[in-house]
Symmetry: D2
Amino acid sequence: MSTPDHLFHFSTEVRVRLPETDAMGIVFHGTFFTYLEVGRVDYLRNLGLAEGVRPIKDFENLVVSGHLDFKSPARYDDPLVIDVRMREIRGSSFTFAFCIRHKPENRVVALGQTTHCAVDAELRPIRVPDRFRDVIAAYEGWSAE
Amino acid sequence: MSTPDHLFHFSTEVRVRLPETDAMGIVFHGTFFTYLEVGRVDYLRNLGLAEGVRPIKDFENLVVSGHLDFKSPARYDDPLVIDVRMREIRGSSFTFAFCIRHKPENRVVALGQTTHCAVDAELRPIRVPDRFRDVIAAYEGWSAE
Amino acid sequence: MSTPDHLFHFSTEVRVRLPETDAMGIVFHGTFFTYLEVGRVDYLRNLGLAEGVRPIKDFENLVVSGHLDFKSPARYDDPLVIDVRMREIRGSSFTFAFCIRHKPENRVVALGQTTHCAVDAELRPIRVPDRFRDVIAAYEGWSAE
Amino acid sequence: MSTPDHLFHFSTEVRVRLPETDAMGIVFHGTFFTYLEVGRVDYLRNLGLAEGVRPIKDFENLVVSGHLDFKSPARYDDPLVIDVRMREIRGSSFTFAFCIRHKPENRVVALGQTTHCAVDAELRPIRVPDRFRDVIAAYEGWSAE
């Protein structure tokens, strides 16, 4: 089950804060992973899959990889749109895709993805629960092939 | 010119992000200075005193002191209200006061202030420009004693 | 029991990292609280009072206030010395004092303090344990008046 | 010109700071890009290619992509080794490879790479200067094929 690369049904927004920039005058590249975190949690909250004390309710997850391609710089006070979608859910892992755009200029700032592993309390991999799969498949419009 | 301690006409909101917390399970105390920065810029933007590339348009400023009293912890995903006001403008310095509240519980999380010095391009103190004083005095309801 | 303001027996060092600076070209003022944290933990580790999983072994603590006066800017890659001492231990609270200096120029960058409250697992104040007091009093040279 | 994947001639060390962890009890994944920055600058400084005000002297650079695979968690106060090498220098881009290891356990925490583009003052791509290539080729032991 997966979603075509160009389709995003969900987006959220942040405005660049001063400490997120660096002395080069632009947003430090590592900061963008914080923006992805904001986007991911808003995506899950919108589907009723997040709860206050944990990013995902019902199970824990570990980030197993993160990747970002930086297309253009973002600066202090820039309003940014974070497009978020679930790209794929496999046995115990799932991958979010992101596009970060400069809002007034509609310019792509970064493209990326993060892959997560569902784990139990001892951080051992578990199968991604069906309810999580079903809610996301319905939202992303995945047909139950 | 100053404003009584209990009066805030302006507030903005943030939601605690995961990297703003630490392994103690609560927001790292230094992170609150980032929230004060967000509140301060929103306060100035609301009065037309901020602009994209600099927190204050027309002049530069340096933070000369910062103080926070922590009253209760904030946790991941907590919605926080940041009350902001200008407490005082002197010759070349000015002091913001802040109250950070847990929004649903209306519980005080932190109280604090930051003092700033207006500077020129060589970081030498200058007198705070009259226009800045006037706009803020009008907003805060300071009588022109 | 307290130590005179000008005496520091302990110091540690950091080098300013790029993401610790901001678009103003200098270290973001909130970042200095991270440097104080580094100094505080090194101070306690040096006395055998820290342990891996918790900044202070034997009891938890909450930061109840933090204050910094900024004397001169620090920039990317600057080597900084963080002088640390315990200023005072009271019933359930204790206060660290700090001086941050630019190492090659021996210029004061910031002066400050943080006050902490010893707490139990439910975050209720407890008396600061005697062992903690004794080790620090010996190190700081407090006479047992 | 490139270096085999398993060879690192250079490493530096960091100790995990409290604000670098999050409420999950482990280092926030985005924080590792700060550690890569520390490693990269130390690598360049060791070769005389860094200078105080800029990560690379002689030319500016932009990060064009970053990737990390997370193999095991790092926790508060963990001593980490950051292995750094230049993997490849092309026309206007160059790629660093990294391995982050838990020092006492010699356990791999993360593997990754960052790719950078050499740019002029207007952020337009330029050819990576020969001196930079030569110094690094000599250090990494690349034969001048």
